[in-house]
Subunit: 374 residues, 4 copies
């Protein structure tokens, strides 16, 4: 990718009108991974995109004379979807994207590629939904963990300020007109959605500290075979990893306006394919009632079609959300009426990745937020 | 069971000398369950009990003319063990136990049976290791959750005071001479062993609150088929149950001298057969160092053969302990040098039940504490 | 159910015209089980039934004053579907079904209830798709295993002759006009679809014997908690059950025109929630080629939207079909060009139950066969 | 490894006396894998090897100044075993093996290393138990699949003739005096033990064809992370691999004196960590009785401590053998009294690898065959 060489993107143009085109054209870079496969599935079955399957982008500069890689050879389970059998990977090339009049480019690529490519896409007038972490973090200190470099630091900094964190429940209006949406991390989504109503309602004793004990299925670790994703390590096991230092922590702190002393996050690897549960511990500033807390959640998510608030004492289970696009949230208040247990579940590949990306696309395209997600 | 009718147990005699008999005779009531099966396995392969397999007790008053139930028909996987093929269940009868000169009776029975039978066993001069919760709790308020009744309340109260909580790492000397040992709960063991060194060293800020987010495999839910233990519910799932009210909580509070406001325990059902992980969150009263905390754990467990303290930052995983008799403990200190993450793993059927019972038997019999457990 | 008392069903009327009604009304008896839940899900999201959710039938004579049982309390994972939150179980009552102008009644009930109720439904002019085994078998000897009794034997016998085995790939035209469709068993579907093209092409050496070594996930064993469906038995295990005598065998023999000496079926319980694989061994009458066998499969299923024939040597895996409505079929020919390995996979709750029922409904209603199934 | 350069092994000396040394010294090459870990565990807890832990061999020529790799860093679950904490990998070096007076060298290495190293070991007077496939096959055509080359073809051929196939139930007497034992494959063991009694009793209709539909847990695929051993592929799945061409087939054919036209083997990958089930289909030459077939199995294995023959109709399950050293075998005869279903289960890492190797060592050392295996 040297396409960034003469980058003269208009960094003054920070928003666009929601699309009113009759057809929306999409492209996916990174369809080989788990999130990419789910994204392809969702777009292929999206009721508003019936006749416009996404372009699927392979490596830039791939030998055009080689046998084409078909979507269904990568993901045989998709072979029943409309158009799936016709789709093959085409070499990543911004000119081709422009020729095809692509409106929205999904990046399900490594962080550094997403950091380099997003500016080029914007320059070509293509809006970007980035599923990597490249654009999620406003604070340099939080972003440092990803070791990103910008081809043009000034443009990188400007686009970073422009980028919208793609949590529709928190930033819906900004997403509608955004050029660059940073789709949230899977753990981050589960925790932010569990805590945002309480933090915004200002009812928590933040100095007491909030703890999220989170557990994720193995797909969260990606498709590359590693010692940790080997069946023999993951099955019949549970293990903690990256306590005090998981790289999704920065997103949670920024979105919830917390600092490190107020928040602690411990991820665990669950022996299941998909699903995240975050068991969140917090304390109210003063004693309250179950009804009052319920009201906070119900109100906050009254217009959020992809969050299902459960009525206390019901708590969500991972099975309720696997292969769905929902985040389920439930809570219980301790007998002391102050300690609060909030449980949040979602499918890490869907509401934690691909479905949230489609939800963002829906907002950007002027579709209904839940189109293609139920 | 009406044998308690004329109970005149000598409640003044509260301890016995550790056995010096050349052979120890044991019996198990409740061998049909998972913990009972593990107990049978451990006793049959115990190096000090080679020629004295345990008596296996079935229902009192069972029809002696019925076809005998063999151990290996209940648990085919035990059929290779010495004597296993000879063993059949005999009807529970204290006279028979006395005739066979049983020294130690293991009760892996429902709580109320254990509450009724233990006094009768003691009256017959038989020491008891009770795997139920019947005798674990000194405080009436904590015990109330089990709805136990005593045939003779005065004797019940006296024996309750006499009963020793069977945590060898905490009460080893008392266990050696005990007549009645209350084998700890599986969750309780994992949490008490994670916290006891810190609580006894008086280094925790108790008012900040301690949280144990614990996860157990399905065998912890028992052998009876229920909606929750159905494969379709447990597999590929994670669910919270009994937050703020799990009945093992009382054990933890009593053994750690904590009150409810200082401690919170949330159990989860893991989609694995065996194993418990407790992820414990605590805060030191003042900043310390990893080395100092390591020293606390290492010293506390220096002579504890069944606890493996890991060197920070190594944390235990469930796979390290499944089918072993160990409790593995590890920790990490936050960058603020005050927040502490302690992770404790054990096999709920072994160190959480049967192995701990055998460890107690070893102490009571004057054997080496780890005999038959490595 | 005494509604069968004065049964005067017109047994001369054996077929109906495919429906041309603008709206189709459906009802489900037995929505509490796994197949019933999938059926409710499929009907609620069926594009042709958008505004006509199914009636959900509970026990006949249930106390109408009791709190209503909601669909989403039974199956929380369905709560996002349109209309799902409004649906409650209503007492089974044929008058109510008639009043509501139900066109098609799905029976996901025990076999004997399905045997008793189907005639009454037909009498009320309601077509029936029965997911039980009550009406699948034409030969009394094969049906004997279910110990069914008919309220009126003459009517039972007549309806049995009328009933159409609901395999759309084999009996599509008859299904379109059928009043009573017997939805096939899950194992039976996987095996019949693997073998029917070969048997009908008359290329197998039947005397050599055909063997199906089949494996099913635990949902095939039903929702009732039993020793076999307990997580501790099913997980990390594989077991054979009912060799030489599984009750689905009769369906296979009748549909494939084989006798017992020519066919052998061994079911295994797999440690997974859903999915069936049948590994089928057969021998061609004379040596052939991969291309010729491929042609047989491809031709047979050319117009079958719910069967995906793989191109040899590709073989299906269970993951390719789980949560889909497809049956995937692949094969390999031995180096001797005569021995044939056919592998067939489907989701036992979908193509093996609920999806096949909807496929039958589509045919009966004049919809496209695959509506709502992709 | 250039130690084979001047190989002048005495190929006339083909057997040795069973050892009568008071202590046996062993070494393991390849302890990093799953079978190697189990082998280390078995040798460390072997009652006849209490004070002589095995030497653990790492790469030849490894830098002696590098930090030593400890056994317990490779396999934390072994850390409780006697001597485990002292053991580190030492560079592979035949001089060192000789200096340490190693009697038996276990090779759990790649096939080609085992082919090169075994002659050198024998030259140094060290007996070899090879867990790879290097020496299992007498027929060149069967061995070709492994693409082995011999440093000295004449010696390779001579040692191949000398090598004893390490199935104690078939070749016990030869194993006792063997210098080079080729430990069988896991699938091969399960199938050979299921069929050998019937084949030797000459009761099968071989021309009808024998089929083994076999299923293995994921540990059989080795420790290297691959797309197939990734949790996301293996979990909740079942897949066929290598039908008509699995490389273990040659062992089965040779040991059972069958040819390819008489035998067919289809392996499947099960979503469990450990365990193999072979479901074997055969036909008796003429009708017989369950009692007669039972007698054939019971007699054949009367003195085989590591095979448990179940009484028909009981069939083994994988759970009965996981983590045990047994092969369990059961059968059922069809109602036609001729078709036979034989089910064989073992733990692929134990009776299918490490335990069988120890069983062979026991025979070679003059120990009891089952020492350390129960």
């Amino acid at each position: 990718m040297t396409a960034t060489a003469q980058l003269d993107i208009d960094i003054a143009t920070q928003t666009v009108e929601p699309s009113t085109k009759s057809t929306l054209r999409t492209a996916i870079a990174g369809v080989t991974g788990y999130a990419g496969a789910e994204l392809a599935r969702l777009l292929l079955s999206h009721p508003r995109l019936k006749n416009t399957p996404p372009m699927l982008l392979g490596r830039a500069g791939a030998d055009a004379s080689a046998a084409p890689v078909t979507l269904t050879s990568l993901h045989p389970q998709l072979s029943h979807l409309p158009h799936a059998d016709e789709l093959t990977l085409v070499p990543f090339d911004f000119e081709a994207l422009a020729r095809e009049k692509i409106d929205i480019l999904f990046l399900a690529t490594p962080h550094d590629e997403a950091r380099s490519w997003a500016p080029v896409a914007l320059k070509h007038g293509i809006r970007v939904i980035d599923l990597s972490a490249a654009w999620r973090l406003q604070e340099d200190a939080n972003r440092a963990i990803y070791k990103l470099t910008d081809p043009d630091p000034a443009i990188g900094a400007a686009l970073q300020r422009e980028a919208v964190y793609g949590s529709p429940e928190l930033h819906g209006p900004q997403i509608k007109t955004a050029r660059l949406v940073a789709n949230p991390g899977c753990y981050a989504t589960s925790i932010i959605l569990a805590l945002a109503p309480l933090v915004r309602a200002n009812v928590l004793d933040l100095d007491r500290g909030i703890i999220s004990d989170s557990k994720s299925g193995v797909s969260g670790a990606g498709k590359s075979p590693t010692a940790n994703t080997h069946f023999m390590h993951a099955a019949d096991n549970l293990s903690v990893y990256a306590p005090f230092g998981h790289r999704h922590t920065g997103e949670m702190l920024e979105q919830l306006s917390l600092d490190n002393s107020q928040f602690q996050f411990t991820p665990h690897l669950l022996p299941i394919p998909r699903g995240i549960m975050s068991t969140v511990y917090a304390k109210l500033s003063q004693p309250s009632t179950t009804a009052a807390v319920q009201e906070i959640f119900d109100t906050f998510y009254a217009d959020a079609p992809m969050v299902r608030v459960r009525t206390s004492p019901m708590l969500p289970e991972i099975q309720h959300v696997v292969r769905s696009s929902f985040c389920d949230i439930g809570f219980q208040l301790a007998p002391d009426k102050q300690r609060l247990l909030v449980v949040s579940c979602l499918d890490n590949l869907l509401k934690g990745a691909a479905s949230q990306a489609v939800q963002n696309m829906n907002l950007m395209a002027g579709f209904h937020e839940a189109d293609g997600l139920q």
